[in-house]
Subunit: 1006 residues, 2 copies
């Protein structure tokens, strides 16, 4: 008791004393916690927090509030489901305190040493360590969420140090819990749970705290006042209703998703203005998501100050004082205990493959998970929806290629054996001359992806990307309006990370004497320089590694090809190209997937080294690094194929050699587009299949299995677990970054090289239909409930998307002009063709080479392979013939084609950019109806306050006039009429008001 | 009296009754206005507006407020300068009511018919009409400000109709004034002013109204709480102080401009939270700018409803019920009456050429004119400042050109008479062959602007533009912070324009029976279609006119040149080029300036035709149109010179002819860059000189002169004029659009073609130094005070700047690669030069022409002009020689150079864009210290409220506990200690709090 009071005085006025509660914990309670540490006492720690709203003024309005509040906390009859049932089972298994009434809003878990069952310490730690390490390696590919214990090596060391000091941890917990009580939260301990070694601290936020915090957080809550949402003129409205009726089967059966004709006016919650809100059902007023975030807000603010340096919840988690912190799910998904709840509804109407064709219940997702998660799924939905037209057009373009392949003159010429063109050998010595007609198949296949429709398609996709961004911006704005986020300023996360505070503390201790007092210690660039240097060096090194790997695959291809050429088996020879291409692509794919994981880990490690100050900072840096590395990793082989392969070959007689005597790869006659296409196809399909199936389905299952085994519980026992125990079994929520990152890379695939692979949108679409439900299942079933985070937009990801769609324009311009044969064909047709057709194009693209000009030792061993002596062979390039005055120099045609290619790039880039900007400018960012509604809301709000103002003033004047009439009658020249009939006037005003509303006065019908 | 009461009942509860004042005007007052219309009674219309703030709650805090308020309006001792003097002169001449106490916050002027001095009606109207028309034509080039009478033809017609109905106007005025009184404003009429025929309605906002409106407008006002502004670490702070000391002479001697070490915390004004604010001096709490905007807000809201359709102040002004509305200047600038006031300070420290080298007192400008004007001058200042480095680098680049002109091999080769190159004739028949050496001068001059430094300079300027934008964004953010605009959401102007309302009314009347009731009538696209069509057609036509004019100038140049060539005078011949170039450029300039004015008028006319709904809408559309037209007008000749001239010439033997037999112009041998440069130089200098001197200095002087003559007053009489009469003499404020537009066009000149004219930034800099003071003088001396408008940013202008700087990159890429000889030189040096130098370049660029291939009738009349027979002449192009198999075809060199040019465009554009984006990404939009300060402010605000909360709760609990102790003692387990010593605790808390502040706890030293 002494200690309690003392500490209370010590802490007086500290940061955690914001609510100004002045009484320390009641004696009984204090004893419950500190005097009798029994094993299975789930002691309810209560305190009478006699919070009162601002007294006076509106006495009549506050009476109710004061009374209920003063009587007893939460003693009003509960109207929610569970309380009505009053069943002990529900109260035990549902998310409630043992009294079955107070809802558990948040749970903190921690290790306990059970005095009764003394287990061997080392084994437990060993066990734990193993699981920990396993989980760490499993979660490698996902970034860290704010409230998860961090894996910084230094902090880990710290953890080791403090690990053996269980008492110290308990003291800290005690202090933290005391401070939480000070803020008005109510706590209940559960140390006798079915999960051995884990104690739970259940946190409940009573009504006062909810109100107070909602006011501080400026939470916008719906008021009693509703208004009619008009979607537009009558015709528009009818069309909208019709569309909605037609698409009815596509809508999930969720109330929150129905279009509403009225919307309550929202206003930041304020206790002074509580008469505005419908507080008749206090349990429902703040939904579980809001309660969670309120408690989280309080937790973040509460600090342990008694230790050497003040520790917030982040530090406590990082130091293992608490092992985890999470809000609870609403209820069970299946089984006998599964009452109707939002989670179950989500499971049935969203997180199921059987509803893949339906819209997502975004409103419900937001209601359950918060705005940030809601925005992710809304974005994913918009993206997937937008992929439908892109996929359709892509398929049409592909079919156009298929349909026109027979009428394509260049491939017809190649396939025509009468042309009898002898080509120069593809490799030194081993290879011999070959006939162009053997490349017939490749040429025909190339046409599928290299035809004029492709040019149209890449312009289409550039505009598609812009439309997608615009559509998303509007959708986001609409969601902001529906979710009452308009006017919500993005609060920057100002909560320092535990690692940062730890580093600052270390620096403070080091510099304690050297720096002047009062100067706040912070990490400067100098402190971070080693980390920055490491980052730069490592990033550079990693990028080099990627290049080296790609180069390795090239060497593999060259050497295998040479080896196969040398083999005498004709079967092997005929399958050479296909074999090499496919194996190389698969090797690339496997390397990409492996390196993806490694790069993710390296990015996390580097970011942790940099000790970013806040979580937002951490996330941004991590995203940047991960993006760069993963992007380079995924796109280097593709970029090589598109822009470098076949360009650094040299020419017959002076080939370019690498690593001794390997000649660089050439492209097939019809260009490298075909190979680019194969590579893209394999990368996209493979990545999606392996990452989705293996990582997103397989590994979580494995994880869950391991966690289950660890807790040694049977399925049956599971059924009797309490809510917070069940949730403890689930995986921690690790942020949305990995999900976004995956989609961004996919977006890159879809837009960047779309000119060479029109089927990419189709593949992406198919993947995303699965992806949505997969992610949904993960969120609903596999993970603990995330803390509801507010967000107005998708943040940095939007910028990345924008950047990608800009880069895509340039890349596509280059792919069309340099990788495909589109420009040479055009140039031939309009500059060189005799009859304006493509006849003779193949001949025009092939230069002549006199075989006597081969460098010694590079001429084919079997010159007579084709059955006749070859004197002049052909190769694909624009060079002067051997008879020219400057043999084998680049010819005039080369320069003309190059100029045309470059001109195309300039024109394409600028025209598409201009069109994009025009579309961007044309489509307003805020939908017209939304901006009207927002405006209407503002006006209604002013009206409401004006009315209130008037009411107050009339009342006040009456009072005042009656009180002061005698003393101020000389100064006060107002007519007595006013005083005599205030009530009547009020009625008049009201009538007027309603009349105006009915008449459709301009003020109301905006 | 009867009428008064009646009307009051009628209006009861209307929009203007927001303050809920229930007493009609006092009998005496009503009589003063309506019963005795004497000529020189400046009747004070007062009413006792017994406004009370929300009563109760904080009784102790409100006592003061209620007392002073209830005693008498504004009866507390005034502390401002004038009131202390109490001199009748000041009270008459200063901006006060006749009582010398109540400040005039706004003035409405109107025509009166004086019964005593009956002047001939027609003459007065005629007079007026003339002045009106004159002023209209004078103000053609400036857009319309919100509160100026509009010149829509329809409204003008309306005006004609109502003009003769002076009684109707008076009734409307009476009603409007009544409604103004209802809102709590205080009015005073002055119909006996020294300006005959004009009556003034002076408006004063008493304290109640100010408070109420400030609350509704959510005006952020400084609270009593100040906090320390820390600019950074000690070192940074010291450097800042040092710089400030060094630049001390550059800072204006204005208090508001000093860097302050403390800043008051701001909070939206609220009467409930009035204890937060320092209300000790009520006259100073709201400064004159704020008072004006508050009154303007009330005026906008007040409506005349008794007429057929409700009229706001805009409609009243448009219909001539009032002739003008303006707030008053603070005082005189010079003369005996000139007390120290902000306007005088601005005049001395800002609006004077003698302080041209100083920084602008932005804080004071904002304080006096409001944020919007403040931002304009801040932007202009930043732009001018940023021009300094650009001008310096530009001059260096120019000097580099001058220094290297002698070592420039191509011009040396041209000037070397030994080369003896015979050129083909420049025109048919009349001209003869000429020697290249005669182009020596031009070639040397060209080098000044066409050298490698130019390429560097255009990259520099592209980055400069990005840096400028970034710098401005940061500056804007800093100003937002200093001016407490953070968190201020841009309120869209929802005030309908008078023209729009008039049109809607007409439509309503027309459709009264056809449309269903309740549907709000608005202007649809169908209504506006004719206007839109007109706009499109007119804009297209105007652009065609511009092209036609440019073409006309080209024809002038060609024909004059041909004529001069034909003349035999050698003097004329030698000066041909210079004469033609200069006269053509001057003609272009004159046309540009004239068309500028015409286009401005057309844009205004077209926008008015479209009947935009709000003023913001009007402004946006007007800006768009004006921008397009003025831009096309200013840049068409320049674009022609840069990209088309000399390219559509054809070749000897097959020249291109226009309009019969005129050959298209050729460029000089060294490219068109020189002529582009001359054109730019003349356009920039001429435009600036003429527009600044003639329009901005000359015409306002003329206007003022005319207004003076009109009112027939001598200078002497002027001195005895009252403030509102003096201000009535000034020109109306017509918005910032013309100022911005001028600067944007200049920015275009500076960035778009900077590759060809590195001195452009210097000219712009010199112009802007004058421009700032010119604009300042205009605002301080020539114009009525604008209504203070809030703005967070410069709006659409920022987007235009951004767009221009993007276009500039592309334009410069093309200028360098296509207009200048930079790329051909590079190509020659690295591809064709024998020894890697430029020797032989001139020869390489010239093709051969066999004179026998001239088309019949186009060969020179004097083939022997040079003294020998010419068989082969040279011309500048890359074509095959006559001896080739394809004579006069484009040669391989041509294609190689073209490819190089295009490659340069691609590389330049993408590299510069990438660099720009990188710089954009690198520099945070919000300066670090500002974001820290904003964050600190937020935390302090929460602290403040927390403290307040605690105080309230303690008090409330005390009350509550004392009241309810008996009834709740069982439920209330709180320790009695809390109840026994609340005061002591409060003190402890306070002490703690101050200690923490002193200690530099982390919460305070952010």
């Amino acid at each position: 008791m002494e200690r309690q009071d003392e500490s209370d005085d010590e802490l007086f006025g500290g940061a955690s004393r914001r609510d100004g509660a002045v009484e320390p914990g009641s004696p009984a309670l204090a004893c419950e916690r500190s005097c009798s540490p029994q094993r299975k006492v789930s002691g309810t720690m209560r305190r009478n927090d006699n919070y009162l709203p601002v007294a006076g003024e509106e006495k009549n309005m506050d009476v109710d509030f004061i009374n209920t509040d003063a009587m007893s906390n939460e003693s009003i009859p509960m109207k929610n489901l569970y309380a009505d049932e009053g069943s002990p089972l529900y109260s035990r298994l549902g998310p409630y305190f043992t009294d079955g009434r107070r809802r558990v809003d948040y749970v903190l878990a921690y290790h306990i040493q059970k005095p009764s069952s003394i287990r061997r310490q080392p084994s437990r730690f060993g066990d734990n360590g193993f699981i920990h390490r396993l989980r760490r390696s499993m979660s490698m590919r996902s970034s860290r969420a704010p409230l998860q214990p961090k894996e910084d090596p230094e902090i880990a060391a710290q953890e080791q140090r403090t690990d053996y000091n269980e008492n110290d941890k308990r003291f800290r917990r005690d202090e933290f819990e005391e401070n939480l009580l000070e803020t008005g939260l109510q706590l209940e301990k559960d140390e006798g749970s079915k999960i051995p070694g884990i104690g739970f601290l259940k946190v409940h936020a009573p009504w006062n705290v909810l109100c107070r915090e909602a006011e501080f957080m400026k939470l916008k809550m719906p008021t009693k006042k509703v208004y009619e949402v008009k979607q537009g003129s009558n015709v528009v409205e009818k069309i909208r209703l019709f569309i909605h009726k037609v698409t009815a089967p596509l809508h999930p059966k969720v109330d929150a998703n129905r279009p509403q004709s009225v919307k309550p006016l929202s206003h930041p919650f304020s206790r002074e203005k509580q008469h505005l809100f419908d507080l008749s059902d206090r349990d429902k007023f703040f939904d579980s998501k809001t309660r969670n975030s309120i408690v989280y807000e309080v937790l973040k603010r509460t600090k342990c100050t008694r230790a050497k340096y003040s520790m917030g919840i982040t530090s406590l988690l990082a130091n293992g004082v608490y092992t985890s912190a999470y809000p609870l799910h609403d209820g069970d998904i299946e089984g006998v205990n599964a009452e109707a709840n939002d989670r179950k509804l989500l499971y049935e109407e969203w997180a199921s493959y059987s509803v893949f064709y339906k819209y997502q219940p975004i409103g419900l997702i937001r209601k359950y998970f918060g705005e940030k998660v809601g925005l992710y799924f809304a974005w994913l939905g918009v993206y997937t929806q937008m992929l439908i037209p892109a996929a359709i057009v892509g398929v049409i373009v592909f079919l156009y290629g298929c349909a026109t392949v027979d009428g394509n003159i260049p491939s017809m010429e190649i396939c025509d054996p009468r042309n009898n063109i002898t080509m120069c050998p593809l490799c030194d010595r081993a290879c011999s001359y070959w006939k162009l007609v053997t490349a017939c198949g490749t040429a025909r296949a190339s046409h599928l992806f290299d035809n004029p429709a492709t040019v149209f398609f890449s312009i289409f996709m550039a505009l598609w990307a812009v439309l997608f961004m615009e559509h998303w911006k509007r959708r986001q704005m609409r969601l902001n309006y529906i979710w009452d986020l308009t006017g919500f300023g993005e609060e920057e996360e100002d909560h320092n990370r535990a690692e940062y505070e730890f580093r600052v503390m270390k620096k403070t201790m080091r510099q304690d004497n050297s720096t002047p007092k009062g100067e706040k210690v912070k990490l400067t660039c100098t402190d971070r320089m080693p980390a920055y240097l490491t980052t730069v060096v490592m990033m550079g090194f990693m990028i080099l590694v990627t290049f080296a790997i790609v180069f390795g695959v090239i060497l593999y291809r060259i050497s295998i090809k040479a080896a196969l050429h040398m083999s005498t088996s004709t079967v092997a020879r005929s399958n050479i190209r296909a074999t090499v291409k496919t194996t190389a692509a698969i090797i690339n794919l496997i390397i990409i997937i492996i390196m993806d994981e490694i790069y993710g880990a390296i990015a996390r490690w580097l970011t942790t080294l940099e000790v970013p100050k806040t979580d937002k900072n951490y996330e941004e840096r991590l995203i940047f690094k991960t993006f760069v590395l993963k992007f380079v990793n995924a796109f280097t082989p593709i970029v090589y194929l598109a822009f470098f392969r076949g360009r650094l070959v040299g020419r017959p007689g002076s080939y370019l050699y690498v690593v001794g005597s390997y000649r660089m790869e050439e492209c097939a006659h019809a260009g490298c587009l075909m190979e680019l296409c194969i590579q893209l196809c394999i990368t996209m399909l493979g990545k999606q299949l392996i990452q989705n199936n293996l990582f997103e389905i397989g590994i979580p299952k494995l994880k869950k299995l391991l966690r289950r085994r660890k807790s040694d519980l049977e399925e049956e026992v599971n059924k009797t677990l309490q809510r917070h125990e069940k949730d403890h079994m689930l995986g921690p929520f690790t942020g949305l970054s990995p999900e976004y990152m995956e989609m961004i890379i996919q977006f890159g695939m879809v837009t960047l090289f779309v000119a060479s692979f029109p089927l990419a949108p189709l593949f992406a679409l198919l993947n995303n239909i699965i992806e949505i439900r997969l992610d949904a299942k993960k969120f609903v079933m596999e993970l603990r409930r995330p803390i509801a985070a507010k967000a107005k937009d998708i943040g940095i990801w939007y910028n990345l998307l924008r950047g990608l769609s800009k880069v895509a324009v340039i890349v596509n311009a280059f792919v069309i002009s340099f990788t495909s044969d589109f420009i040479p064909r055009l140039v031939y047709q309009y500059m060189y063709s005799v009859d304006g057709t493509m006849h003779g194009f193949v001949n025009h693209t092939l230069s002549y080479f006199n075989v006597s000009d081969f460098q010694p030792g590079t001429d084919p061993i079997q010159p007579m392979h084709l059955g006749y002596k070859v004197e002049i062979c052909r190769y694909k390039d624009y060079r002067e013939p051997p008879s020219s005055s400057t043999p084998y120099e680049l010819s005039k045609e080369f320069w003309a084609v190059l100029a045309a290619r470059l001109a195309f790039v300039v024109v394409f880039q600028n025209v598409v950019m201009l069109m994009s900007d025009f579309v961007d400018w044309l489509i307003p960012d805020i939908p017209k109806d939304i901006s009207l509604q927002i405006h209407k809301e503002k006006i209604l709000m002013v009206e409401l306050f004006m009315k209130e103002e008037q009411g107050k003033r009339l009342a006040a004047r009456d009072n005042h006039n009656l009180d002061n009439f005698a003393s101020h009658s000389s100064a006060n020249r107002s007519s007595p009429r006013a005083r005599s009939r205030p009530a009547a006037q009020d009625v008049v005003w009201e009538n007027e008001h309603h009349e105006r509303e009915a008449n459709g006065s301009p003020v109301y019908r905006v």
